[in-house]
Symmetry: C2
Subunit: 272 residues, 2 copies
């Protein structure tokens, strides 16, 4: 039987930071079961905090904190020390280093990360943009895009566009289909914005076949036929060449990795 | 002049965790300039690591590490100690606690978080689902959804759907327009899945007016008219009542906060 470990995540805001760290940590322990349903967002009273910490003792839990309020954080730290509770503070060690380096103190305002500021609204518009200009729905959007992603069916254009939109990029994408003429507006798009996605043909055949299964369809030959897939990919590579798109092979890469490659590519263009 | 602080983020994978923490930390220092362009993903050689740390000394930088390789992490820690470099390790303190609690060691495989596993593919399908069933495009999708989000124009249905899709939920949304009849399929949707978004009328008028500006349109009266907005919101509240939707007021709430409220709501339903 697998060993279990219980995590309490305490935050005076949403607790997104501790969830992100926790995901990265959990991935390193395939043989442990993490009981990660104890999340305590918006904690701002000492009494509330102490109740949670008492429960954590009962559950023999590890407590991770992203409290930005120094008084609450100190309370939690002291309580944990006295009661031998495993306690990990993600914010304060960083605050200490910044104080040491610059003499500056944090403003200690919870949730300031989720403030409805310009950056936030830019991100929201970028997401709406990506949904609106997904799947070549309106090729005029290419001209306003920071990135135009091209590729044959099932090369992850949509999730990649959305992921990059979450980072604030205005992204559109176009499926490449040999039988369908390319929109003329593509000729006017800045080549440096164009990304071409390719994938190993066998992998693509498998992904497409799974896709049809998921849709409850019987195998449509031309969509999953390996000869046809080779043809489609060849065609897409010609398009990439024509437009000098930056080509990325998606096989065995996650969306996050591909996005990271694209950002590095943009950085290298900017520094040229 | 604002004080500047340089951050080096070192990871043997993408470094997403340190970026998330860094965003939360930076938000606490509105008067500091963070120079955050030094990101070093996929570091797996000691020589590479030591070069970066040497540069960090020159730049008087703070180093944050999410290295999972214990040998590399120990090298960085020891180098930083000897050279008085500000160094923050996000993973190892957590690893230490888990070892103490369970005796288990991490597998130390970089990038395992981004593994192309079932969970990953579920997330990808959820994003594709949200894009496909955005804006009431195909109401049949409501029946397959984990959540159906309803609301008048500009109540953030799309970005909220995408954000929840990123967490793996299958989400569709429907704009409520008094003049357009509701799709019949709505009667068959499980009421517990329905979320209704409302917003303060004045706020909504402002958001819509900004929206038209952004689109370069002159003010369309009925869309931004406050009387009309009151009517629309009244209509939407009647729809929410009819379907017993869980109503959330979006005014002054970020997408992240609203999503958090929805997840808490789902949790409370599950525990009933």
């Amino acid at each position: 039987m697998k060993q279990e470990i219980t995590i309490y995540a305490i935050s005076d805001s949403l607790g997104g930071t501790s969830q992100k760290l926790l995901s990265a940590v959990m991935a390193q322990y395939p043989d442990l079961i993490f009981n990660n349903s104890y999340r305590f967002p918006f904690i701002n009273k000492e009494s509330e905090l102490l109740d949670i910490l008492q429960d954590a003792i009962k559950d023999d839990a590890v407590v991770i904190s992203t409290l930005v309020d120094s008084h609450l954080a100190a309370t939690a730290r002291e309580f944990s020390r006295v009661n031998h509770l495993s306690y990990l503070d993600l914010m304060n060690p960083f605050f200490e280093i910044i104080k040491e380096k610059t003499g500056t103190q944090p403003i200690e305002v919870p949730g300031v990360l989720h403030r409805l500021d310009t950056e936030y609204f830019n991100k929201i518009s970028a997401i709406e943009f990506a949904v609106k200009y997904d799947d070549g729905k309106n090729p005029q959007g290419f001209l306003e895009s920071d990135l135009v992603i091209l590729g044959v069916s099932r090369t992850s254009k949509t999730p990649l566009s959305i992921y990059l939109a979450n980072k604030g990029y205005k992204v559109s994408n176009l499926p490449l289909i040999p039988e369908v003429p390319l929109p003329q507006v593509l000729d006017k798009v800045d080549r440096r914005k164009m990304i071409g996605l390719v994938c190993d043909p066998d992998k693509l055949a498998k992904v497409r076949s799974n896709r049809l299964d998921a849709l409850g369809l019987t195998q449509a030959t031309s969509y999953t036929d390996i000869e046809k897939i080779y043809e489609e990919l060849d065609y897409s590579k010609k398009v990439f060449q024509k437009y000098q798109a930056h080509v990325i092979n998606m096989t065995d890469k996650s969306i996050e990795e591909t996005a990271c490659i694209i950002e590095e590519h943009l950085k290298s263009l900017a520094s040229k």
